[in-house]
């Protein structure tokens, strides 16, 4: 094991991050991603090792431009790594065909975005239906599951409301219901509290924290919000493309 003292954080190897007692759902092994422009090369993600176990909530902190979003895109299979491997349930994402990559995002992942990204033209129930409809689930079944999902986040009375009639917290709960409705193994929450006030943000964090326990989904919570660390099983920090675990 190699350890390096880095202020309040330690750079750790994969061995350190893995907990042998739980099965690894997601594994990143020496993953790198760089962007090249005419004048410079930016190492957005550099030699990152990371793993997420089933039902684990991992908080990922880091300043703007540290590479958090690139890391999320790599995990989602929306970007391909320049080096290293990203494995989900033991299978390297680089080996996925296009349709397998699509099926991976549809069935294994759920997304929660900072700006909710709800369609203003759809009701809460219809918004939650979208991931199911995209994968061809029949209309009736999709609506039934959406209703149940909204009930799980406490919005059973807001089924027909369009986003412009919902508060910020309610919108984010709809987004969480949308992420849950496909029964994913991993939920990627990107600054889920970034657009909310403190009180609402707390409520949303509690909701997200309950997901591993109540729905069996692991959560990677990318955030600035230090309050998220209270709910996290582990806290990782990204800085200049490198990942470290906070003590």
């Amino acid at each position: 094991m190699v350890e390096r003292d880095d202020g309040d954080a330690r750079t750790v190897t994969a061995t350190t991050l893995e907990r042998p007692q739980a099965r690894a759902l997601l594994e990143l092994d020496s993953v790198s991603k760089r962007y090249e422009s005419v004048s410079e090369t930016i190492h957005a993600v550099e030699d990152v090792d990371m793993s997420v176990r089933e039902r684990e909530l991992v908080a990922l902190l880091g300043p703007s431009g540290s590479g958090k979003t690139t890391l999320l895109l790599l995990i989602a299979g929306l970007l391909r790594a320049d080096g290293g491997s990203v494995r989900f349930e033991g299978r390297d994402l680089a080996s996925f065909t296009k349709s397998e990559a699509l099926a991976y995002r549809r069935t294994k992942l759920g997304f929660v975005f900072q700006d909710f990204n709800l369609s203003a033209g759809l009701s809460a129930q219809e918004n939650v239906c979208v991931p199911l409809l995209l994968r061809g689930v029949p209309h009736g079944e999709a609506h039934g599951r959406a209703r149940a999902s909204l009930a799980q986040v406490g919005l059973e009375r807001r089924l027909t409301h369009t986003p412009d009639r919902l508060s910020g917290g309610e919108k984010q709960r709809v987004a969480i219901a949308r992420a849950l409705v496909g029964e994913p193994k991993l939920i990627l929450a990107d600054e889920a509290t970034g657009s909310l006030d403190t009180e609402t943000g707390d409520a949303v964090l509690e909701l997200l924290a309950a997901l591993p326990r109540e729905h069996g989904a692991a959560v990677v919570l990318v955030t600035h919000d230090i309050r998220a660390t209270r709910h996290a099983d582990r806290v990782l920090q990204m800085r200049d493309g490198r990942l470290s675990e906070l003590q």
Partner: protein
């Protein structure tokens, strides 16, 4: 002040950075409107402008003229008599004759002007220069302009073949005058020769067609009166600019058509620009909020909007003028053929400051309206209260607001009122069409609501997630939905209105030509396409004798002479048709407006009767059975009216009279010119048979049964010989020539539809790209949660296709109504028998084009989104 302007410029640069596509699209809209307005104005102004150059260049200081009514002119001695009249400062005789100049490289139809040194004191730049060049060479031969000499491939000293009056003459080119000597008139279809040479070429010895007169100061009116008293029976004493007014009258209908389509083009450009700016209303609202929050006074907000309009207007006008110049060169080049047949108009373009000013004013108005209107709606909607900047959603459940209801009611009232006004009073069709377009635009926001409700109902039954999401996207971006709808509607409206009515006019022309030319298999006439109205006379004895051999050989069944001419009535130059009396159908059935066709034909064959265009009858307040006095070369003759007709494709109007009667009056006028001009009104002329040795303007040849038109054409051409100077055409060739020349004015307007299509394609693609870019966060989120490439492409296609197709369907429907109204207006204005044939095919083609545009826009958008990382859905913190 400079600092203030810098601030406004800073704001504008911000808009450019934030919404470059929107600015580009708005620019394209304004530029398209300006380009079309400029191009059609230039096209129209050039017709009269080129003629003005010639008229002033020839007449110089002369303000009066004595003009012949017939092509045989009058005695040259009249000029000497005029010169001696009291009040005459100077007078100069002129002879004008239509010729075709042939050289090794080609042929040109020209007006040959013969003059003497007497034109020099009149100081006409053109005639003086021609005269001086002629005198300087001492050869006394033909003078051409440099462009003409170059076009036919001859140089000074070389031979030029001249076709004139059905004969071939050989002349030597004396000199070619360039623009350095005669200015823009160098582009005019004009040739010159000393009067004696011109008389010899025209075989009119001692004859002239005009006397140019410069009155002594203050004596003009008295002199005109004296000229009328002395020569008024058989000649036309008149102000020298009368010809210009006749041309303006002949081009009047075209001017109105031009005006109509200019206005429509400008409105279309304005709507396109408006749409572009409407697109960014949410972003603009945020900016206004920002300005107000940072303490900017309202005057600053308004100044910023005004500055946007100014920049957009200036840039749009500059781009539009360039594009318009190009359009006028490429699409509107050449002449309106039907006018060139009666006036020596050149191909040169005339761009006046007024033309540029009108285009600039139109462009600035469009830019101002397009910028200010959406901004006003933003300000009215309470910019400060909508701080989140979210676009308002078109709710399916919410009821239409009172103001929306009022707008819809106003739109429907405007549409209904405009249609009704145009039906009741065709003269106000231009205004009615603008009202119709404006009314439709007013109805569009609520039409968009209806459309989305329909699409929602349809998508609810669909298992395709893309269909449902596309409806959601439409509801999310109300301004874009309305903008797309309006773009499609305006483009389709323009295409159907213009294409449909042009097609109807062309059909009318073809029908008329078919009627007129269906009585023979072959046609023999001098000159080229410019002699489309066959008004150039030739001695037909010799050609007829040659064709008689073919008659004996059983190839030709009959050869009959037609005698047509132009005749100047007050304010209009009319076309006089003289079909042979042997012809049963004297009047083309498609042209009849009032009267019994059979009875009118019989009366025309009898003589003493004429059929006149409805427009002339209305102007003279006469009806069928009434009387009309016509100023023939033989004097004023009173005819009875057998029928009223359409205009036979000559917009100022036509008169049909017995061909023999026409020959007698016109050729009698040739002799009559020599007689003292004292004949008064003559009543009931007696018809005469065409005399051997007479003149015709066209020979109608009927082939014997079994002889094909192609074979007959070859034999007739061989029989006439190469030096006849006559062209032989089959009926189908002649019909094609007539259709091409007569239909050319309106068919050029089809170029507008090309500009509209190009602008629409650019606008829609820009709209879609802008829309996709604005909504990229939501679209990226959809891709992230599992939307496939095909689903994404369908989403964009449904979104753009539904709205664009719906807009086009609205536009096509309105366009069909507009086409009906324009047909009525064209019929009323031009006197052409235009029949409405709904342009369904064109409408279907328009919808197909819209479909293709949607596909292209979707593809472009999908490629753009898929080509980038789907980062927009994720936070940037």
């Amino acid at each position: 002040m400079t600092g203030y302007l810098r601030t406004l410029w800073l704001f504008y640069r911000r808009h450019l950075r934030v919404q470059p596509l929107r600015e580009l699209m708005a620019l394209a809209g304004v530029a398209a409107g300006v380009a079309l307005l400029f191009a059609v104005q230039v096209a129209h102004r050039s017709v009269t402008g080129s003629f003005e150059d010639i008229a002033h260049g020839v007449a110089g200081d002369a303000t009066l003229e004595l003009a012949a009514r017939g092509d045989k002119g009058f005695d040259q001695k009249v000029s000497e008599d005029v010169e001696k009249m009291p009040g005459v400062e100077a007078a100069a005789p002129l002879l004008s004759e239509q010729i075709v100049a042939l050289g090794p490289k080609g042929r040109r139809e020209l007006t040959l002007v013969g003059a003497t040194e007497q034109v020099i004191p009149l100081h006409g730049a053109l005639s003086s220069q021609f005269q001086r060049a002629s005198e300087a060479s001492h050869k006394g031969l033909l003078l051409l302009t440099e462009p003409t000499a170059r076009a036919i491939g001859v140089k000074p000293g070389e031979a030029v073949t001249v076709l004139v009056g059905g004969r071939t003459e050989r002349m030597t080119l004396n000199a070619a005058l360039g623009s350095d000597r005669i200015g823009v008139a160098a582009d005019s279809p004009i040739a010159a020769a000393p009067l004696a040479i011109a008389q010899s070429v025209a075989q009119l010895p001692g004859r002239i067609t005009r006397v140019l007169i410069e009155p002594a100061p203050g004596r003009e009116a008295a002199l005109l009166g004296a000229l009328k008293a002395r020569y008024g029976a058989t000649l036309d004493p008149r102000p020298v600019d009368t010809e210009l007014k006749l041309l303006a009258g002949a081009a009047g209908a075209e001017r109105q058509v031009t005006l109509l389509f200019s206005v429509i083009s400008l409105v279309a450009g304005m709507i396109l620009a408006y749409n572009a700016l409407l697109l960014a209303s949410a972003e603009r609202r945020r900016f206004i909020v920002y300005l107000i929050e940072t303490g900017a006074p309202e005057s600053m907000v308004l100044a910023s909007l005004g500055f946007d309009a100014l920049i957009l207007g200036l840039a749009g006008c500059a781009l539009g003028l360039l594009a318009g110049d190009l359009t006028s060169l490429l699409a509107y080049g050449g002449l309106p053929g039907y006018i060139a047949a009666a006036f020596p108009v050149g191909p040169q373009r005339t761009i006046t400051s007024q033309t540029v000013e009108i285009a600039l004013a139109g462009g600035m108005f469009a830019a101002l309206a397009a910028t200010i209107l959406p901004a006003l709606s933003i300000l009215r909607s309470g910019a400060v209260t909508q701080r989140d900047g979210m676009a308002r959603t078109l709710s399916l459940t919410a009821k239409a607001s009172a103001s929306q209801g009022t707008t819809l009611a106003a739109g429907i009232a405007l549409v209904g009122g405009s249609v009704l006004a145009a039906l009741l009073a065709p003269a106000v069709t231009i205004e009615a069409l603008v009202g119709l377009a404006a009314g439709i635009v007013l109805c569009l926001p609520l039409a968009a609501r209806g459309l989305i409700a329909l699409a929602h109902a349809a998508s609810a039954r669909s298992g395709d997630a893309s269909a449902r999401l596309s409806v959601a996207e439409l509801r999310t971006s109300a301004p874009r939905t309305v903008a797309l709808l309006a773009t499609g509607a305006v483009a389709a409206f323009l295409m159907v209105v213009i294409g449909g009515s042009v097609s109807d006019v062309q059909s009318a022309v073809r029908r008329g030509a078919g009627d007129l030319l269906g009585s023979a298999d072959l046609w023999v006439k001098p000159g080229g396409a410019q002699n489309v109205y066959t008004t150039e006379p030739f001695a037909y004895e010799k050609p007829q004798a040659r064709l008689a051999r073919l008659q004996r050989a059983g190839v030709v069944r009959s050869v009959t002479p037609w005698r047509d001419s132009f005749l100047d009535l007050p304010g209009r130059r009319v076309w006089v048709l003289g079909p042979p009396p042997a012809l049963k159908a004297q009047i083309a059935p498609s042209q009849l407006r009032e009267g019994s066709l059979a009875l009118a034909d019989e009366r025309l064959r009898e003589g003493g009767w004429v059929a006149i265009s409805q427009t002339i009858a209305e102007e003279r307040h006469v009806r069928v059975g009434g009387r009309i006095s016509l100023p023939t070369p033989s004097g004023y003759v009173v005819f009875r009216i057998a029928a009223t007709t359409a205009n036979y494709g000559w917009l100022p109007g036509a008169i049909v009279m017995n061909g023999d009667e026409h020959a007698r009056l016109w050729e009698g006028g040739a002799a009559g010119g020599k007689r003292p001009a004292t004949s008064g009104a003559t009543s009931g002329p007696t018809p005469t048979q065409a005399q051997p040795g007479g003149e015709a303007t066209e020979l109608a040849v009927t082939l014997a049964p079994g002889v094909s038109a192609q074979r007959g054409e070859q034999l007739v051409r061989a029989a006439l010989g190469p030096g006849s100077g006559l062209a032989v055409q089959s009926t189908s060739e002649r019909r094609a020539e007539v259709s091409a020349v007569l239909g050319s004015t309106l068919s050029r307007l089809n170029a507008i539809t090309i500009v509209v299509i190009v602008t629409t394609i650019a606008s829609v693609i820009a709209l879609m790209m802008a829309a996709v870019w604005q909504g990229r966060a939501r679209l990226h989120s959809l891709i992230s949660i599992g939307m496939g490439f095909g689903q994404f492409a369908r989403l964009i296609f449904y979104e753009s296709g539904t709205v664009l197709l719906a807009g086009c369907a609205i536009g096509v429907s309105a366009g069909l109504v507009g086409q009906y109204l324009i047909d009525g207006w064209l019929s009323h204005t031009t006197g052409s028998p235009v029949h409405y044939a709904a342009a369904w095919l064109l409408g279907a083609r328009t919808l197909a084009i819209a479909l293709l545009i949607s596909l292209a826009a979707s593809l472009a958008a999908v490629v753009r989104i898929n080509g980038s990382q789907p980062r927009a859905a994720f936070s940037t913190q």
